[in-house]
């Protein structure tokens, strides 16, 4: 195994990298992703509002050193707008994904520990939500709540829990048949006590990995719903807003308005994806290889 891996590495890269084992590689990747993402967040938070104030003298500029992403039709710097937009999107995504993951944790626990009836209800709910496309349910919820930040967060939170719930439920079902649980049960501990003291600690890795993997999903859906006009208000510097606004100007040849923000969104989402996968590998090596 090791030889083959080493060979493959040699062939693909053509030179020798300092040798790291799997675990070290994973750790380094995680570290790099964290540095990258936090620099985006810090950058977005630190940049002042001056660069996104309207300035008619610098409007419609194509990318240059001064404005690496160009400027828009009101003279706002697109790099600043993109960074701020991504920060906002990440905040929204983070909050929504966390709420979603907690819903999944609670429902998964309930289903697996509170008896048949609870299990039926939760499974039915999961099936129900999985049968409707995410985006449709999301639009319905966000629209019913009148759009805006609140609508998007609640909408994303309420549509992204089912798959994680399934994972957690399966995990709990498996755990329940473990010896130490059976012993605890025989010793007369209550269901609730067992759930909280014995089962919950075992779920923490699943929970965090689930959260990390939910996150890019949440961000993409936030962007798409905002793009479709059911989400955040158009003056907020969200990435979905930037993309939908740019659409109108694409036909005039201002390609940089959509290209860089779209690319940044992709890179950011992919970075989280990689981060989640590697964390998964680190915390749960057996599952990760499946």
């Amino acid at each position: 195994m090791i030889n083959i891996d080493a060979l493959r590495e040699k062939r693909s890269l053509g030179f020798r990298l300092p040798r790291f084992n799997r675990r070290q590689q994973t750790l380094i990747t995680i570290l790099l992703m964290i540095i990258f993402l936090s620099s985006v967040i810090v950058g977005g938070a630190l940049l002042g509002n001056e660069r996104i104030a309207t300035n008619f003298e610098t409007k419609n500029l194509s990318p240059s050193l001064k404005h690496p992403f160009g400027t828009d039709w009101l003279g706002r710097d697109m790099l600043t707008r993109t960074l701020k937009g991504i920060t906002l999107s990440m905040g929204v995504g983070m909050l929504a994904a966390t709420v979603s993951a907690f819903i999944a944790l609670i429902l998964g626990l309930l289903a697996a520990t509170m008896g048949k009836w609870a299990d039926t209800v939760v499974t039915w709910l999961v099936d129900l939500f999985l049968s409707v496309p995410h985006l449709v349910a999301l639009i319905l919820i966000a629209f019913a709540l009148g759009g805006g930040m609140k609508g998007v967060i609640i909408g994303v939170a309420f549509t992204h829990w089912p798959s994680l719930t399934r994972v957690i439920r399966a995990e709990v079902l498996q755990l329940r048949s473990a010896e130490f649980i059976q012993v605890s049960k025989k010793m007369g501990k209550s269901r609730w006590w067992i759930a909280v003291k014995h089962i919950l600690p075992h779920l923490i890795p699943q929970f965090f990995i689930g959260l990390m993997l939910l996150f890019p999903h949440a961000v993409l859906h936030e962007a798409s719903i905002t793009f479709l006009g059911f989400g955040l208000s158009p003056h907020q510097p969200a990435i979905g807003i930037i993309l939908s606004e740019s659409m109108r100007y694409l036909s005039t040849g201002m390609w940089w308005l959509a290209f860089f923000p779209g690319l940044s969104l992709l890179i950011m989402v992919r970075a989280f994806d990689i981060l989640g996968d590697h964390l998964h590998m680190l915390m749960d090596p057996h599952h990760a290889h499946n």
């Binding site: 009148g146 659409m247 005039t252 994806d273």
Partner: protein, 537 residues
């Protein structure tokens, strides 16, 4: 999960890149539609939005003139002078109460039935009863004196009544029912053939039309968004397309740019009463910050209107100081020297506004100089104007938060927040409706609850005037009489910003004649002189 996301990512890249490439691709200018036809008899137009309520004049269709399917008693020519259309003569009694109109005898509806005074009486009564935007409350009665003479009796003299004769299209008594809005029959130059809601409207020349026959036998109106209309023009699939000002600098082969002056204005409406009240429906009324005259005046003086025209409208517009710039009832004294930050700051400090906590935003006692400006989120131009004005005003210490909302939401917020509205009409009654205390809180009029008894009395006098000249004098005084008025120098319940030019891309071979100064609503008003349009090979 992971592969799904990867798919999504790939898909997004593909979509994005196709958009970019199509955006950059040069337009193919070969116009396949027109190549094989020697005498062009069909036009394809993409000139704007679809009238959702349909084409019934008694509920508001064509209220800015040019109803297309119907015709009106009177009409305005290119110089905005009043001329006859269905009427051959109209007279007003000396007391201004009795209006007598004599109809032409050769007018027929598109179903072949003659148009008589019965139809006119029916139209006006139906419009009065419809409870729509058409305000006929001043009309006491309308009677048919004989087959071709109609007599209107007013409750009190009203000089603006003539505008109803100018804009209300006559509907047939025998064929006006519930489905009229989707299936209009009228005496106008065109008749409806097919209306696919949300897509297109197809009309054909009305053979019964009494005026000169239009040069085109068939028109197809496509209801496209701004960017789609522009793309269609680039691809050569439409003969005329409306254009947002931001695209005005784009050259399209085979098309020329037509810019029409308009009174289609944009401005910021301020609630002028203090917060606390509600309307009958429970919607909050009033805003403590904009109720302060110093704030409203300072904003009016601080806005650099020419910069907005150049920056947001790409130069396709003019600065607006009132709701009616350039119209006969406009008072030119209302033009102020704007973009004057020093004057704005002085007005604010004289008004008692100081920056006591050093955060760049002024305070007066415990009140902070900040409020929300709402704009309809679907309108790109208004959004740009709102954002630009908020940034423009910031240096004088007023913080305007900008928010985009739907029209439904705006209705619930428009009495307690500043709103970026647009108006502009050939009828001074609109000005009355915007500033009269009687229309406070009614519909979209006077949403800021502005009221000033002196101005009310000027405007009532203008309405009651028998002659046009007398009315004009009072309309001007209502704007500014040397002491007060509703313009920026007086009570400043609005900060008007710009008049838009209406931009169209027109096929080089299409001659659209001489259009008059356009009212509010980009699109339909251009069809006003469609009978004069012709094709030059």
């Amino acid at each position: 999960m992971s592969s799904k996301r990867a798919m999504l990512a790939v898909l997004l890249v593909i979509v994005l890149s196709t958009m970019v490439f199509t955006g950059c691709a040069p337009a193919k200018s070969d116009n396949q539609n027109t190549q094989n036809i020697t005498t062009k008899e069909e036009l394809i137009l993409a000139i704007g939005s679809e009238p959702e309520d349909g084409f019934d004049p008694t509920t508001g269709w064509g209220r800015y003139g040019s109803p297309l399917f119907q015709s009106t008693l009177l009409t305005r020519n290119q110089d905005l002078k009043i001329v006859n259309d269905l009427a051959v003569e109209y007279k007003v009694s000396d007391d201004g109460l009795i209006w007598t109109v004599e109809l032409r005898k050769d007018a027929k509806f598109s179903d072949g039935q003659p148009l008589t005074s019965e139809d006119v009486v029916y139209t006006y009564n139906a419009a009065a009863e419809s409870g729509s935007v058409i305000d006929l409350s001043v009309m006491k009665s309308v009677e048919a004196i004989d087959h071709y003479i109609v007599q209107f009796t007013l409750k009190q003299p009203q000089s603006t009544f003539v505008n109803l004769l100018l804009t209300l299209g006559i509907v047939p008594k025998h064929a006006h029912g519930k489905d009229y809005a989707t299936n209009p029959i009228g005496s106008g130059p065109f008749k409806l053939v097919q209306w696919d809601k949300g897509q297109q409207l197809i009309v054909e020349a009305n053979p019964e039309y009494y005026g000169s026959a239009p040069a085109f036998k068939k028109l197809t109106f496509l209801f496209l968004g701004e960017d789609a209309a522009f793309a269609a023009a680039k691809a050569g699939t439409v003969d005329i397309a409306y254009l947002p000002p931001a695209f005005g600098k784009q050259a399209v082969p085979g098309m020329r740019l037509v810019t029409l002056n308009s009174v289609d204005n944009r401005g910021m409406m301020f609630p002028v009463v203090k917060a606390g009240g509600t309307t009958k429906e429970g919607i909050p009324v009033g805003n403590d910050v904009t109720a302060d005259l110093a704030i409203r005046k300072a904003i009016n003086f601080a806005i650099d209107r020419q910069a907005l025209v150049n920056g947001v409208l790409e130069g396709f517009g003019t600065p607006a100081y009132t709701v009616c710039d350039g119209l006969p009832w406009w008072n030119p004294e209302t033009v102020i020297k704007d973009g004057d930050m020093e004057k704005a700051k002085k007005i604010l400090s004289d008004g008692g506004w100081r920056d006591t906590d050093g955060d760049g935003i002024l305070e007066k006692d415990t009140l902070k100089a900040q409020f929300t400006l709402i704009y309809p989120s679907s309108d790109q131009t208004r959004q740009s104007l709102a954002i630009s004005v908020a940034d423009m005003i910031k240096p004088i210490g007023i913080n305007i938060a900008v928010e985009g909302k739907s029209w439904d939401e705006i209705q619930k917020m428009m009495h307690s927040n500043a709103v970026l509205f647009g108006w502009g009409s050939h009828d001074p009654l609109e000005m009355y409706n915007l500033y009269s205390s009687k229309t406070a809180g009614i519909g979209w009029y006077n949403t800021g609850f502005y009221s000033n008894p002196i101005i009310d009395s000027y405007m009532e006098k203008a309405l009651a005037a028998v002659t046009e000249e007398e009315a004009l004098e009072y309309w001007k005084k209502a704007q500014w009489d040397g002491n007060t008025g509703f313009s920026a120098m007086g009570d400043a319940p609005w900060a008007w910003m710009v008049n838009l030019n209406h931009l169209y891309l027109v096929n080089e071979k299409l001659d659209i004649g001489q259009a008059k100064i356009q009212p509010h609503g980009h699109g339909w008003p251009i069809t006003d002189n469609i009978v004069e349009w012709h094709w030059n090979e």
